[in-house]
Each structure stands twice: as structure tokens, then as C-alpha cells.
């Protein structure tokens, strides 16, 4: 059977790709589109390493068919920095050592940005529950939560974009 032809927007750029019906968005991002920043940790929506946004909504790209992307707008970790400027969350993760091995980091950043895009004044509990779908086995989450809280505080002060 012929492949599906899909036209969609990824990180603001229009892209086209061919896929099979069963291909996940993650398969296509990492394969034909070459965007390997989204990681596959489980393939079942339990680890969050493949987090992307679809029309601004946070989802696991392993739980979405690539064919569904037609006409939508996809955001991935590769689109988070603006030009040569890291997003404040990216900077803060580095500054606070909020990553160790770094495999979960893209997913955490995409998820954390989705939170702060909605709410720049989350409580620690809100941050922890928002990020509960992102597994990290290295950090014990402490520095990740601190980084997100710090950036939220900076945003409220108008320090961070």
C-alpha cells in the first residue's frame, strides 16, 4: 500500500514527509525528519522523553500517529532555542546542573516550557505533578524542579523572556 503524504509544520517550518499508517510521530521525527532530540525511552507514553507540542498542547510523540500531523503545528526540542539564544529554561538547566546523563532533558524542557507558557507562578507541587510524566533516573528531580521554579520566578520579574 502506498505511503501517506503528510504536510505539517515543525518548529515553524513547513515540512512534508511520507509515512506508513502505523508510524508514530516519534518514528518520523527521528527518522525521515532527522530530529533525534526527541528520545524513545519506552514507546508507551510512560517516560515523557519524546515530549513534543501539537498546536501548543503537550503530548508524547510516541503516542501519536505521524499521519495525524497533517495540518497541525509540531514543536520539538530543536525549536526551543531562538537563533543562537538558548531558552531561559535551557540556560537554567545547565546553570543548576539539572541534567546528568541528559537523555530525559529534551522531554523535561519541552514539558516545562508548556507549563510556563500557561502559568508563570506554579507552586512546587504543581511543577512536580506537571512533570510527573517525565521520568528522570539520574537527578532525583531536585535540581530540575528548582530550575523550573527559578525560571518561573525570573519570568515573573521580567528577567527571562
Amino acid at each position: 500500500m502506498a505511503k501517506f503524504h503528510v504536510t505539517t509544520t515543525v518548529n515553524g517550518e513547513e515540512v512534508e514527509f511520507l509515512c506508513d499508517a502505523q508510524d508514530s510521530m516519534l518514528d518520523v521525527l527521528r527518522g525521515p525528519l532527522g530530529l533525534t532530540g526527541s528520545k524513545e525511552g519506552c514507546g508507551s507514553g510512560d517516560c515523557g522523553a519524546c515530549s513534543i507540542t501539537v498546536d501548543g498542547r503537550l503530548v508524547c510523540s510516541c503516542l501519536m500517529l505521524a499521519a495525524e500531523a497533517q495540518g497541525h503545528s509540531i514543536g520539538t526540542i530543536e525549536g526551543m532555542a531562538q537563533g543562537d539564544r538558548l531558552h531561559p529554561l535551557q540556560e537554567k538547566f545547565i546553570e543548576l546542573a539539572a541534567l546528568q546523563c541528559g537523555i530525559c532533558t529534551p522531554g523535561f524542557l519541552v514539558a516545562a516550557k508548556a507549563l510556563l507558557d500557561r502559568n508563570t507562578n506554579p507552586t512546587e507541587t504543581e511543577v512536580r505533578y506537571w512533570l510527573a510524566g517525565n521520568l528522570c533516573r539520574c537527578t532525583g528531580y531536585d535540581k530540575i524542579i528548582r530550575a523550573v521554579m527559578d525560571v518561573a520566578a525570573d519570568m515573573r520579574k521580567g528577567v527571562a523572556a
Binding site: A21, R57, L63, A67, A132, G133, N134
Partner: protein, 295 residues
């Protein structure tokens, strides 16, 4: 390699036709958070995937003239959680839907999908059962409605006939003094399947419970409507004796199994524990839902 077809149906008619054409090999795609996992594990090998998210009716939340709500079957948990009026009227239903998976899963998972997956541990279903929700089904012979508790017929099985699909869930209007709540027990604080889930909806008048429904999940092959628990609450002031009786009714209704998520003894006990706790939350909401009725 089996060739899977993907159809993004533009109308209910098209979706029904595609399902019929698939000859029993069709699967409806709403949020896909169960379907994609099942396809990957080999548990599902659909011939045709029918995406219903382009159909307006399954993607909308509508406030009905009688004060009830119609929730499109494919509306995501995130969208449901952001609907203020719905959350005010049915906080228990909304929190139950919002407990399905992570924030990422919430971006896609729907109440309709949760129901159609027909897991006895589905989080939204006990709350929908307690709410007295009706399932609107469209099929080759037109439209029909069934109560939520009659929808699942066993683990992974439901009452949908070939070519049928769930369009929406309707929630009835709320009388004053009503409240609902859903609680589940999971080993962690997030990201788990319910070991037990309890939904309670009740109406209070002058401190007396005048109506109640109790839904109980993960303790039997399907989510249960526990009428004996409701009976124990109705007519009472939700005093300890009534709560004990209702809790005992929940425990008695349990027909659980021992599995990787819990034991028979544990599930049976927790059903009663959660009944009491959920009832207390529902009652608090009912009390604050009476205009000027705050203590």
C-alpha cells in the same frame, strides 16, 4: 507486512462506513493513548484506523439547555480540564478524566477512549457511572443511548456492535446541593493504573442525602454501579454508621483478583476506605454548591 489503512473521517457517517468496511478489523482513533500502545505490543493489529478527530460533534463540549453537558467522545482530558463550567458542575468527573496518565497523555486521551478501552481500572468510568452519564452511540442503524455502567461488558469488551462508535457522553443537569468526587489508590502519586477507584455523586438537602450514586473500579471485570452503597447513603446525614454501611457495601461488591497491582484483600479493603473519603469530598462540594448554603 500487513497494510494498515488510516482514514481521517470528516463525518460520523463516513466513520461508520469506514468501520463497517473494515469488517471487524477497524479501530477508532481518538487520543490513541491506548491504541498505539496496544498496536506496538501486538495486542491490536487493526486493518483500518478511523481517526474521528475531524468530526465536530466528537470534539466539542456543549452545555445543554437543561443544564446538563454533552462531552464529545474524543475531547482530550486537557480540554475537559479547562472547561470551567463543566469543572464547576462535575468536579469529580473532571478530576477523574484528568487522572488518566500524565500531562502528555492528557493532551490526547479522551473520556470516550477511556470508556471504549473498557478496562475495569479506567479512571474516568467510576466517576461517569456515579454521575449517571449516558453514552451516545452512532451506528449503521442510527443513534442509541446506553447508561455508562451498561457499556463495558468485560475486560477490554463493550456493547458496541459492528460499525458502531461512541459519539459523546451526556451528563445530566445538577440539582442544587449536589457534588461529586473521584478517588483512586495508586502505589505512586502519579503515572499508575488504579488499584481501586471510587466515584461518588450525591445531593444533599438540609444535610440529608437525597440522592447518591457510587461507581467502583478495578475490583471486578467491569466498573460497577454499587446500588447498595448508594442506598446506605440516601436518607442519611452521612454519619459514620451510614458511611460504614456504604463502605461495607463497596467491599462486598468487590470481585477482584490478585495481580501485579494489588491483592484481593487489599482491593476489598481499599474500596471501603475510598468510598468514605470520596463521599466526604462530594459532600463538601455539595454543601458549597447550595447557594448561600455554606456552613
Amino acid at each position: 507486512m500487513s497494510d494498515i489503512r488510516y482514514v481521517a473521517a470528516e463525518s460520523l457517517d463516513e466513520a461508520v462506513k469506514a468501520m463497517l468496511a473494515a469488517g471487524g478489523q477497524g479501530k477508532i482513533l481518538a487520543g490513541g493513548t491506548d491504541l498505539l500502545v496496544q498496536m506496538r505490543s501486538g495486542a491490536q493489529n487493526p486493518g483500518t484506523i478511523v481517526d474521528v478527530k475531524k468530526i465536530d460533534e466528537v470534539m466539542q463540549i456543549v452545555e445543554l439547555p437543561d443544564g446538563g453537558f454533552r462531552i464529545g467522545a474524543a475531547v482530550s482530558g486537557a480540554v475537559i480540564g479547562e472547561h470551567r463550567k463543566l469543572a464547576a458542575a462535575w468536579p469529580g468527573v473532571v478530576e477523574a478524566v484528568n487522572l488518566i496518565g500524565s500531562k502528555q497523555v492528557q493532551g490526547r486521551a479522551s473520556a470516550g477512549g477511556n470508556l471504549c478501552n473498557s478496562s475495569p481500572a479506567a479512571d474516568s468510568v467510576p466517576a461517569l457511572v456515579a454521575a449517571g452519564a449516558k453514552v451516545v452511540i452512532q451506528g449503521p442503524n442510527g443513534r442509541r443511548e446506553v447508561p455508562v455502567e451498561a457499556f463495558p461488558t468485560g475486560p477490554g469488551r463493550n456493547c458496541l456492535a459492528p460499525g458502531e462508535l461512541v459519539v459523546s457522553l451526556t451528563l445530566p443537569p445538577r440539582p442544587p446541593g449536589s457534588g461529586d468526587a473521584y478517588l483512586r489508590l495508586i502505589p505512586r502519586t502519579e503515572m499508575d493504573i488504579a488499584v481501586v477507584g471510587v466515584g461518588v455523586s450525591l445531593t444533599l438537602k438540609d444535610g440529608v442525602c437525597t440522592a447518591a450514586r457510587v461507581g467502583l473500579g478495578a475490583v471486578a471485570p467491569t466498573v460497577l454501579l454499587v446500588e447498595d452503597a448508594a442506598k446506605a447513603l440516601i436518607g442519611s446525614k452521612l454519619d459514620d454508621a451510614a458511611l460504614e454501611k456504604a463502605a461495607a457495601a463497596c467491599s462486598a461488591a468487590c470481585k477482584p483478583i490478585n495481580d501485579k497491582r494489588g491483592t484481593i484483600a487489599y482491593r476489598t479493603k481499599i474500596a471501603g476506605v475510598l468510598l468514605k473519603r470520596a463521599t466526604a469530598i462530594a459532600a463538601r462540594r455539595a454543601t458549597s454548591n447550595v447557594p448561600g448554603g455554606m456552613h
